[in-house]
């Protein structure tokens, strides 16, 4: 080492020593939190910090123990799927009255259009289930389970473009950097199975060339990195680099991890970075996952009638249907938050054709998942959520013909459904105007939706906070109220 390097090393070391005194307290909390994440049963330890990185228990007894979020990325058209608007048929081709839009902003993709011709759904609607709910013919399987669903037809969001909107749904903020929904849940409740991550992500797409997804959507943000979503893939190698390389057996792996742990510990004492502990926790988690994950992710023991239920695509790894089946298996292993993302809903043009393909790729598997959870008694404490980042507009983007039209982004009103624990069955909540443009009754903001799901999980959304950069953050920022009428 040169003198300069020595000098640098000493400087850094001195600084860290001075910082030791200040850093000790918070780092200590981090260690406790880590311990409690790894061993959530350490609940009788009165020294666990109330405001530390893991709260580890709900604020009040929960209705929902686990969530499966079937995120429909790209924004499905509520007008072709859920929100029946006969007025659009009556006024087909006429301009959207200015009294409805009232000059509200549009995206750059249609703001320049000279006309806003109203486009009715090309697909028929009919009433289904005990509540006689209107539903599109594109969802023949969802029709069978409407009695178990709660529709929120009055969702609205603040963002108008995909990336900010999906970030808003997932993190409560349009700008990147905040923790994802699942990370907050992992931070707030810990894990119910120390052999699996609390927050698992599964990806699929209905067609190519749609809006991209980014890892930031399942990022832990400023929360300790043990809370980030772990992406699982279908097939023999569900998690990248999880299996031992050829020539390395379990014993060598264990010995390697033990030694690595010692090095990490030494380094931690030196620099006191709590992320080192996070990293150690993840290595250990990966080690335990080496046996638990392949077992959970293997579909080889699933009988044929289950594959039939989820549809033929469920045999094809990486499809939405296969991911729904995996989601059920993860839920059976008490994973807290399973987040699916399904790309392909961004249909600015050629919508009638694309929405049909896209709906077909999700309809049967979504409905089968609800049924399958139900027959296993899991729907009793699992919540399934189905929805995108915003809705689509009632006027055509581009040329309107009876067979072809497109729809632009529409944040002011769209539909999300939920099924399972704690929510009313067969309920339609909220109402849009006759154009499906504005919410006219019981609006549900994204923050309200987040507050409601957290409430079902036993969390007071105002109390689940994390201090970062001098202020305390929440998933719901400074907004959000629990939508009580949705609760069973």
């Amino acid at each position: 080492m040169s003198d300069l390097q020595n000098q640098l090393h000493d400087d850094v070391h001195d600084q860290l020593s001075r910082r030791t005194f200040l850093g000790q307290t918070s780092a200590g909390l981090g260690t406790i939190a880590l311990a409690s994440l790894l061993n959530p049963t350490g609940l009788f330890d009165a020294s666990a910090p109330a405001d530390g990185p893991v709260i580890g228990k709900p604020h009040f007894p929960p209705k929902v123990k686990r969530v499966i979020y079937l995120f429909q990325s790209g924004a499905p058209s509520q007008l072709e799927l859920f929100d029946y608007k006969p007025k659009l048929e009556a006024m087909w081709g006429q301009d959207l009255p200015e009294s409805v839009r009232k000059g509200q902003r549009l995206t750059g993709m249609t703001a320049g259009q000279s006309r806003f011709p109203l486009a009715a759904s090309r697909y028929k609607f009919a009433q289904y289930g005990p509540g006689q709910m209107w539903l599109s013919e594109l969802l023949p399987h969802t029709q069978r389970i409407v009695g178990d669903l709660t529709f929120i037809r009055s969702m609205h969001t603040e963002a108008i473009n995909h990336d900010p909107a999906i970030t808003f749904f997932q993190t409560g903020s349009q700008q990147a950097g905040r923790p994802s929904f699942g990370s907050w849940v992992s931070y707030g409740l810990g894990s119910d199975n120390q052999n699996m991550p609390a927050f698992v992500v599964l990806l699929s797409k209905g067609r190519n060339g749609d809006q991209p997804l980014y890892a930031k959507l399942w990022s832990n943000g400023f929360l300790p990195s043990v809370h980030q979503g772990v992406v699982f893939r279908s097939g023999p190698d569900p998690v990248y680099y999880l299996n031992n390389p050829p020539g390395i057996d379990k014993t060598s792996r264990r010995r390697m991890l033990d030694y690595l742990g010692k090095l990490h510990q030494a380094q931690y004492k030196h620099v006191l970075d709590p992320e080192i502990n996070s990293r150690m926790a993840q290595y250990e988690m990966a080690y335990r996952m080496q046996t638990s994950v392949p077992e959970t992710m293997s579909l080889s023991k699933e009988p044929d009638y289950i594959f039939d239920m989820y549809g033929p695509e469920s045999r094809k790894p990486g499809t939405f249907a296969a991911n729904c089946l995996l989601a059920r298996k993860l839920i059976e292993k008490d994973v807290k938050f399973v987040q699916l993302y399904h790309q392909g809903w961004d249909q600015h043009n050629n919508l009638p054709n694309d929405v049909k393909i896209q709906a077909k790729s999700v309809d049967q598997a979504s409905a089968a998942l609800v049924l399958d959870l139900k027959q296993r008694g899991l729907l009793d404490d699992t919540l399934v959520i189905w929805g995108g980042e915003f809705g689509r507009g009632c006027y055509s983007q581009g040329k309107l013909t009876h067979d072809d039209y497109g729809r632009d982004h529409h944040p002011r009103a769209f539909t999300v459904w939920m099924a399972g624990a704690g929510v009313k069955k067969g309920l339609v909540y909220g109402q849009t105007d006759e154009f499906g443009y504005n919410v006219v009754k019981d609006p549900v903001h994204v923050h309200d939706f987040q507050a409601t799901v957290l409430h079902l999980m036993g969390i007071d959304h105002e109390k689940l906070t994390f201090k970062s950069q001098g202020r305390r953050y929440r998933l719901t920022d400074v907004h959000g109220k629990v939508v009580k009428p949705l609760l069973a």
Binding site: T41, L43, F60, P62, P140, N193, L371, D380, D460
Partner: protein, 497 residues
Amino acid sequence: MTLWLLLQTTPDASVDWALFIGRFHPLLVHLPIGFLLAAGLLEAGRRWGSLSVERTTVGWLLLWSALGATVSCVAGYLLSLGGGYDTDILTEHQWQGIGVAVFSWLAWAVQADWTGQRLARLYLPLLTIALVLLGAAGHHGGSLTHGSDYLTQYAPQPIRTLAGAPDRPKSVVKPITDINQALVYAQIVDPILQSRCTQCHNAEKAKGGLRLDTPEQLKKGGEDGPVLLAGNSLKSAMVGRCLLPESDDDHMPPKGKPQLTESQLALLTWWIDQGASFDKRVADLPQPDKIRPALVSLAGNSPVDQEQPTAGSATSSPELTRPVPPANPQAVAALTKIGLLVLPLAAGHNQLEVSAVNTPTFSDAQAALLPALKDQLVWLKLGNTPITDASLTQIAQLSNLQKLHLEHTRITDTGLKSLASLPKLEYLNLYATDITDAGLTTIATLPALTSVYLWQTRVTPAGIAALQRTRPDLLISSGTDSRTLADFSKPEPTTTK
């Protein structure tokens, strides 16, 4: 002199100045104590031991004792202007303190060279009197600060009798065994006041003229008026003051003293809002959800400030928020040792969920560990384990059980019968077991049951129909039968109108 003028001219500031200086009394007072004792010991060593100490050394110490005692007296007088002390004890302490100063000066004077040793024979008596007065003043000073029963509070009874203290009250506070039967004032409120308030608001040291040690005094209030307005905690100063920012001069307890915890404050507020009764029991008063966790935490003598629970509940079942004693940590440890997960249902509640999700080998023998948590265990997940009917006799003892997962186990109708003793069971998962229609008769008798899962069992449609007739409200899930499934799985079901 300047100070004296200041005191005279600005009456408002004068009190502040007086107290500022007065508060040095507890510091200053230890100087003459040390000096005088040292002087006495040195004098004794010089006369009766073989200590080679000059007379002038002792004299020098006496001079400082006298000076220190004098300054302490002045500071002590200024401190007493703040008021709030028992006048009788204060008067005694004051004169004893002055006595120490006077006799120290005298003892110093008679031995000094400039008095020519003419009164030297008075030296020893004067020094002795100073020392005796020092002891008395010290004791009374202690009584003023800590209360007159400070020394005797924990003394054994013979010593108390000797000291003339009243008999010790039989067990200061009765420990709470059943929270519902606990006396709100005597067992909850008073202990909080004892721990945080009465050190300064008691019979001897009634700061602000206020005493919080008896119901009568609580109702009476202090020199600023009443502190307790039954039914309105916000207008009751004894709560209002505690809610002020800690930096506020009126905040209580004073800055630096142990503060009330959130749950202690919640309990006081609750007590006042419910009428501030002095004889009611917990069960006699309404208990909003907010206060329940604080009450529960009292039950097992667990630290009151351990949790900061939240109001509200996502669940409608009162079973899950009912106060139960905390679990025995050893019983919990025994379960976690064999790989079971023991999870708290919620902060502020002692109810537990136990899960065998990571213990596929959980056995009947191990099930014997479960009844140790019979009060706390409300949700139990034993699905996918090889347990048999033998485990069910253990589970039958878990009388608070609300949800029970037995799917993919080896239980039979015979074992199911023992579950008839579970009065609160709402959820029963039996899918993929050998349960038959015979088992349904047991299920029909479970009083609280709302949902039962029977997919992939040997029950028949007729059996299910019969059960549904007996229990019309029961959710019976027998899964998706093959016909429905075949229909569901058809590529394009023809359901459009």
